[in-house]
Symmetry: C2
Subunit: 337 residues, 2 copies
């Protein structure tokens, strides 16, 4: 009995070691434990992450006065209290306008690991991305001038920019959006899955390990790989079935490619797909098997993959709510039209 148990434990241990190797060979990468290693992945060499920038960026991220109406902030659609998104099919912005392509808001958590931002991958960095929704008519609907005038109207903001960038800083649109992006770079959520790949054999339970194996064996990992399990562009038939047709003239990038979304925190970011038409994670998994892998996943396989996804629920950064500086008489007034 004892011998069997030992053998069995040894076999399990061997399997575990093999699974970690298999996962890494398949292109899966953990969020590193080491702060130095993590910094290499998330820092911007042209604009290093500092505590001052992150604190200021957090304020700007939560400040609805950057929008034309004064009531929509970055956090409205990328809600850090939820999965870093808004939980609705198509983003709703200024004047209650839905995204014109019926596109779903992606999560901001771990977005720093993406090679491309937006569903059509048009921006390469969070810095560039942050400039988009602030100006988009159906989102925050602001002009660069509005944003600059708003931030510059509050002495407390100017003081914080000077603290973060030096006395001579020019608080312009790019500096403001860069600072928001710096905050976003820190929004990473290590999970049991990372602990497992980083060497903690017991971080995943048996079902989750089996799920990871199914995930790799079935080929999901072909697109969902790297640190964020989804980061670059991949061919995706946006008109594959009726469920994906509600995307207006959205056609992906110039090559018809659509960004592969991250699977981190996927249990917290329903509804799914670029048009947010599927609410059931099991259905989403099965649909991906059918459309992308050309295979009918069994119920057991779907359940197994979903069990693995539970292990991707990350530990969110503990954030203290920022207090925003008070408006002054020169702060632009809200405009609801």
């Amino acid at each position: 009995m004892k011998i069997f148990l030992s053998l069995s434990l040894a076999a399990a241990s061997l399997l575990a070691a093999n699974l970690v190797d298999t996962a890494k060979e398949a292109g899966l990468k953990p969020i590193p434990n080491s702060k130095t290693e993590l910094m290499k992945l998330i820092d911007n060499p042209k604009n290093h992450i500092t505590d001052e920038k992150v604190e200021l960026g957090k304020k700007l991220y939560f400040d609805p006065r950057l929008s034309k109406s004064g009531i929509i902030s970055c956090n409205t659609c990328h809600n850090l209290n939820e999965g870093g998104d808004d939980g609705v099919s198509a983003a709703i912005g200024h004047n209650w306008t839905a995204n014109p392509h019926n596109l779903n808001s992606p999560t901001v958590y771990n977005a720093v690991f993406f090679d491309a931002q937006f569903w059509d991958g048009r921006d390469p960095s969070l810095e560039k991305q942050a400039q988009g929704p602030i100006q988009a008519g159906p989102e925050m609907s602001a002009t660069k001038e509005h944003v600059e005038k708003t931030v510059n109207s509050m002495p407390a903001y100017i003081a914080e920019f000077q603290k973060a960038y030096g006395k001579d800083v020019k608080v312009d649109f790019v500096k403001i959006t860069d600072t928001i992006a710096t905050f976003e770079r820190t929004l990473v959520t290590p999970s049991a899955y990372d602990d497992y790949l980083n060497g903690d054999k017991n971080a995943l339970n048996k079902t989750q390990k089996e799920g990871l194996k199914t995930f790799i064996d079935k080929g999901c990992v072909t697109c969902h790989n790297g640190v964020s399990l989804g980061h670059g562009m991949n061919a995706f038939n946006v008109h594959a079935t009726y469920k994906y047709q509600n995307v207006g003239d959205f056609k992906g990038d110039a090559n018809g490619m659509v960004k592969v979304p991250t699977l981190r925190n996927i249990t917290q970011t329903a509804p799914y797909f670029h048009n947010g038409q599927i609410w059931d994670l099991k259905e989403a998994i099965a649909e991906m098997g059918r459309i992308q892998l050309g295979t009918k996943l069994s119920e057991k396989e779907v359940a197994s993959i979903e069990a693995f996804f539970q292990a991707l629920e990350g530990r969110k950064p503990t954030l203290t709510m920022p207090m925003l500086p008070a408006s002054t008489l020169t702060t632009p007034k809200p405009d609801m039209n």
Copy 2:
């Protein structure tokens, strides 16, 4: 010289002592330093404040899924990152609808000290108040059933209710809104003004002390008194000038009375008045002199009162952002219509 200085200091000290007495005689009351004394003011004897209820109430306060659309939470209009309000003239709610009376969202900070809630004072408590905006068509636009079904669809919420109220708790609309109110009861913001009334003679500077004196001498304190410097109902001519006419059929309460808003954090809660038509605090002070006191305050008096208002900027509670439980398949879907 020394004698003069001593005399002058003694006189100042006497003035200070007198000013505190005068303020208290005029009906001004500080937020108490003692936690026990504070608890007497903010607790609900029928539903005591506990850490479990406050943490759960915070989550519900920030949860946009309580609304019909899934994107409006209590915090949307009573934004704790700002002055506890939304910084716009008339609240904007479901389907981008402005408050039908063009009424301005009051701050939630220190609202626990009010005798009456809403501009027409129709609700006596935060518990009752919390039921209103969730159901109001132009605000969160939800039914009681929607709210109950939403919260009950998430096992993590049920578990927290059981922890807060015991195993047999029925998570119904009243229990949910009561819990939100319990969180709101803790949103008090002691300030330099309180420190001064509580005995710290140096908490206010000379200009602020003079401002407090002007505030009392001119009669502002007739309505703006008590712990929140504004709490009950008072006659206010809602149609006094063109600036107040944009209020639809709002007529105040049955006696034509309008609630006296708190002056705490007033420097952070522009625009002012029940219809949010005045953005400049100085103008607001002068208008109150004209309409309510029948007097033309000099520029110096207005500036003096404004200086005192700076001392009412309170220390906000340090809040850790809550992580909301993930939706499940039985969570009601967002409805934008």
